[in-house]
Symmetry: C2
Subunit: 344 residues, 2 copies
């Protein structure tokens, strides 16, 4: 049995789902993987910070968050307010970085990951920012210290995308991909197909917690663009910043256009595409497109997402994730931890 200690930055929906997941899977992790996962640090921006070298009681941490109390109460030693000092003070084998995404720089998440790797931790994140903006640097750093930088949950939650290309698809050359990578806009477009205005759809999205208070990251295509950048950088091997993606959101789409498409048996989708020729990207875009029933994108409903990869060896391998939630993202983090520890 190997005890592995985790330092968690961020303890929102995903962090809490992760805490519940490893609690539920405790026996399975011990029996199948010989792992005893403990959380030695949790740092939040607004709900306090705790360090306990013996392992924070996750049930207590979850209850504390539910009651809106501060995690400070759980700390067994002074927990530095500065995040980099917190990481330095936290005795851990793996950093779980789940701070909010910064679409334009990937910071401060990248700084947290850099610090953790330099301290000899593996770094696992659901945050797209450091992947799109700092992949080369962070994976080189990880390799140089014999640790891993993994980020399965950064695109399509817990669906295996990056690990698919690390393992099951050897000697396959990726030429391009096409998909629906932003759940929020996919739901909004569906609401508009059902007759809602854009504003009503946004309001509905907010009521079920899918749409942010400021919906611009989703509706203007930034979330989709950063995912295109991450996939291009990591899987196509062509570094690309979200700012370089040809980006058009869904604000320009009228209810009339959507109704007309529907009448013609078509649907508007926010489609992500990238294609390369040799080492040159010939397309990297996020834009609304009409798709017909002959397209695998047609039946991607609600908050589901989908990507189809074109390879020299497989002309069209599609991955669909239906009904994602914080639990699926949390699972991607757990898969990364196990794969980092077993070297996959």
């Amino acid at each position: 049995m190997k005890q592995v200690s985790l330092c968690m930055i961020g303890f929102g929906n995903v962090g809490q789902a992760f805490a519940r997941l490893i609690t539920r899977k405790k026996d399975e992790l011990e029996q199948r993987y010989g792992l005893n996962l403990i959380v030695t640090g949790i740092a939040t921006a607004r709900h306090g910070k705790a360090i306990d070298a013996g392992g924070i009681r996750l049930s207590v941490a979850l209850r504390t968050m539910q009651r809106g109390a501060s995690l400070d109460l759980l700390s067994q030693q002074p927990a530095p307010q500065d995040m980099l000092e917190f990481i330095a003070a936290c005795p851990a084998d793996v950093l779980l970085e789940n701070s909010p995404v910064n679409h334009h720089t990937g910071e401060p998440a990248a700084a947290h990951i850099r610090a953790a790797l330099r301290q000899g931790m593996h770094a696992v994140t659901a945050n797209k920012g450091p992947v799109a903006h700092h992949y080369q640097e962070l994976s080189s750093l990880a390799a140089s210290v014999g640790r891993r930088f993994l980020f399965e949950s950064a695109v399509m939650d817990g669906a295996p995308i990056f690990s698919l290309f690390r393992g099951p698809l050897p000697a396959a050359e990726l030429i391009g991909f096409r998909g629906i990578l932003n759940s929020c806009t996919n739901l909004l477009l569906e609401m508009m197909e059902q007759g809602k205005t854009f504003e009503e759809a946004i309001e509905y999205g907010r009521s079920i917690g899918i749409t942010e208070t400021d919906p611009s990251a989703d509706v203007d295509g930034w979330d989709a663009a950063i995912k295109v950048a991450a996939l291009s950088t990591v899987l196509l091997g062509i570094p690309l910043k979200p700012q370089e993606v040809q980006r058009e959101g869904i604000r320009g789409l009228t209810q009339k256009q959507i109704a007309a498409a529907r009448k013609a048996g078509q649907r508007w989708k926010l489609v992500c595409t990238a294609r390369r020729r040799g080492s040159q990207l010939i397309e990297a875009s996020v834009k609304p497109q009409q798709v017909g029933p002959d397209s695998p994108l047609f039946a991607v409903n609600g908050t589901s997402s989908f990507v189809q990869f074109q390879m020299d060896t497989l002309p069209g391998l599609g991955i669909l994730e239906s009904d994602p939630g914080p639990e699926t993202t949390a699972y991607g983090l757990l898969a990364d931890i196990i794969n980092a520890l077993r070297g996959q």
Copy 2:
């Protein structure tokens, strides 16, 4: 650089596509994986057999097949007519078993694999028979001799299904799956939607090489059933024979039913399903079902196939393979060889 020699049983469309694939990928395999693959034996039922310990010239073997000549001419030593004796005489590190499927027993493919493993070869196959009928025995045997028994191409050609669960999806508990696993019937149903009778559809399928002379394995659901059995046995961990799958083919479907569904915005699909509760299968079936546009099965067109997995950690992970052919099956064999050699 590691030289790895292959013994190929069967050299039809898939075997020949494999020979072209490893010829095209020679440099990539050397540079990325340090592998030099050579074929030291090819055995066919009706086009001769050849053994060459130094490596058969694949371009010559391909030309020989195209001209309908016998591979016997290429043999550098007497090649035994009996397949088991052939395997014993062939100096090889990996057996590639691509003989025709036997839906009811999995033989003689299983005997070939058994013999190869006992000789210390890895065994790789696109043949569903030995997987559905002999998985436990053959994988135990492989483990006992420190070799691998891999069969990625047995279900959905080269799409990564089995390797997905070996690597990227640790600590995920599979509860069930639902999909379209037989390409031929999917194409036939589409032809019938376009107004063709069952007989005309079969005729068209034959003209493009999708439908066998005797189409019963496809249209009566045997091919789908053996895939359900393979997935249940390997991924759900519940041994199941194709004969135990509740099986209904597409012969009973009338053009009238298909037209009526189409008018109602629905499509008939041959749907494969398996679900378990604990260690009990509560469903394992192949049957025609109507699906609507809200289902990911709706847009599975032509010879594409699709499966959606339900796990405790991911509620709906779908894998779509579009436009498969002998090349995609050949790629699955190559992926298995690389993964066997690198222990993934």
